[in-house]
Amino acid sequence: MIFGLIITSPAILIIGCLYIFPVFYSFYLSFTDFNFFRASEVKIIGFKNYIDSLISNDFINSLKLTCTISFFSVVFEFLFGMLLAVMVYKISKRKEFFKTLLLIPMMIAPVVVGLMFRFMFNTEFGIVNTILMDIGLIKESIGWLISGGMAKVCIIILDIWATTPLMFLLLYAGLTMIPPELYEAAKVDGANDWQSFYKITLPLIKKIALLAILIRFMDVFRVFDSIYILTKGGPGKATESLSLLIYRTNWINYDVGRASSLSFIMVFIMLVVASMIIWLSKDHSENKKQMMV
């Protein structure tokens, strides 16, 4: 027992000093008007930061944007990931090759991904505009990163590009856990591909699928690096996600109290959505048990 205490102590120490203490400290700061400029005079101001944050236009703008990005990214990633997983599962040759190929985007730093997309979506010399004009889809260059609406689309495309592979890997792992006999049995019963996907694959993969969606949601909701590089939140504040808003509040306006309160609001929203997704997956497993009985 003492041995256990000794060998777990480095981990506990690090987690305690670098997670628990900072988070409590930050939680305390969120109730104060702490600012880097006047760090000596700190007043406790109760819930003022939270109320101010919640009703500020910047916050509502960021929240809307973050939700939009999260929703579209996760939906498309799930669809593409599922499509790829089913297709790669079905082909007999070169499975490993495609798995390796799809691993590549995950290995590239979000900073580099951001730069790559900024280059490709450039209005004057970006390859995207050039290709679209060459095949005659558009007549004039699109200002991808100059207009707010288009910049959002770019961010979503970037996120889909960067993380569909993770979705694919998770769903593929889920598919390989389904016993192949089930498909054979369905084939004997005369089910076509679509029916066996709908009746066998989807129900059995639901739990992993929801977990994959949960993991992706937690990641995309706090996205920072790629947006910071791609648009820096611009044009104006059109692509300022919650993480960027917190970054700006803390490191450009030096309003630590306010930034802390924003970050806890963000944690709260994530917890709510995460528990909804977990609730969905739990609900299902009970149904399945009933079905099995």
């Binding site: 981990a11 798995k99 590549i104 900024r118 970054y247």
Partner: protein, 281 residues
């Protein structure tokens, strides 16, 4: 090719074509930006702003970015930070995971649960107070600060992976070594660790890649190239000298080559690490 398909019915052929069509279509969507990056990095500067294939291949961008911009400084910072972090995380996660799974003490389960749940915390939430602490200790703009930070970010994941592994580790093997008179520590070093090499590799690889790619913390903590890692160095390439896309693409290539090599050589470990959560959970 046609000969192979001759015996099958047309529906099967069409579905094969559709399958490969979708996979190849989506794979090219995945590969295209990277290929374009490679092409851009070997273009001469005057052709950068023309979206066509280069007329000649030149490595000038690479030479410039290393000689004038001194990219290798950032590169070595990144290496030192990522290596040290990886070693620290592996040691602490091995010890911790072993302890939490095999040497339980009161409330050790709860402590472990807290450690693992912290992984869900958004970076920004942690970064504000962590930055204040580091500033107070006078550690800003040091590699040490980045190593501490990254160790903290990666530890929950490492701890969780190692605990999961050691939980399934057969007790009999350890008991046998106790009978031979080995101490707890000796049993860990001589018996448990050698067998858990694959899991340790997973933790090491994932930690290395996450640290190598980390940007936000480095951005707020560092201020010059004595401690800045490559992520920050590259992001500044687009600011200091205007937007030098030629240098940017060469620097990006230098930057992603190590992780791509790791990905290609050790893909099995990475995939198992990334999917373990979904399967065990």
């Amino acid at each position: 090719m046609k000969k192979q398909f001759r015996l099958k019915n047309p529906v099967q052929i069409i579905s094969k074509v559709v399958q490969y069509g979708i996979i190849i279509g989506l794979s090219s969507f995945v590969l295209f930006p990277i290929i374009w990056l490679v092409i851009t990095s070997v273009k001469v500067r005057s052709e950068i702003y023309i979206s066509k294939l280069p007329s000649s291949i030149s490595l000038l961008s690479y030479i410039t970015v290393l000689k004038e911009y001194r990219l290798e400084k950032f590169f070595f910072n990144s290496i030192i930070i990522a290596m040290t972090t990886t070693i620290l995380v592996v040691i602490i996660a091995c010890l911790g995971g072993y302890g939490f799974s095999k040497f339980k003490y009161p409330i050790s389960d709860k402590i472990f649960l807290i450690c693992v749940l912290l992984r869900m915390l958004p970076f920004v939430t942690l970064m504000i107070p962590l930055y204040l602490v580091i500033a107070k200790l006078g550690l800003t703009n040091s590699k040490f600060a980045l190593i501490i930070g990254n160790t903290a970010f990666n530890l929950p994941m490492g701890l969780w992976l190692m605990e999961t592994f050691f939980r399934d580790f057969p007790d009999e093997l350890l008991e046998a070594s106790y009978i031979d008179g080995a101490s707890n520590l000796k049993a860990l070093i001589n018996i448990a660790l050698p067998i858990s090499k694959p899991s340790i590799s997973v933790v090491a690889i994932l930690t290395f890649i996450t640290t190598w790619n980390e940007f936000m913390f480095a951005l707020v903590v560092t201020s010059d190239n004595s401690s800045q890692p490559l992520t920050v160095g590259i992001s500044m390439l687009t600011q200091q000298y205007g937007v030098r896309w030629d240098l940017m693409s060469a620097a990006s290539m230098i930057y992603i080559i190590p992780t791509l090599l790791i990905a290609l050589m050790l893909q099995k470990y990475i995939i198992s690490g990334l999917t373990l959560g979904a399967i065990k959970g």
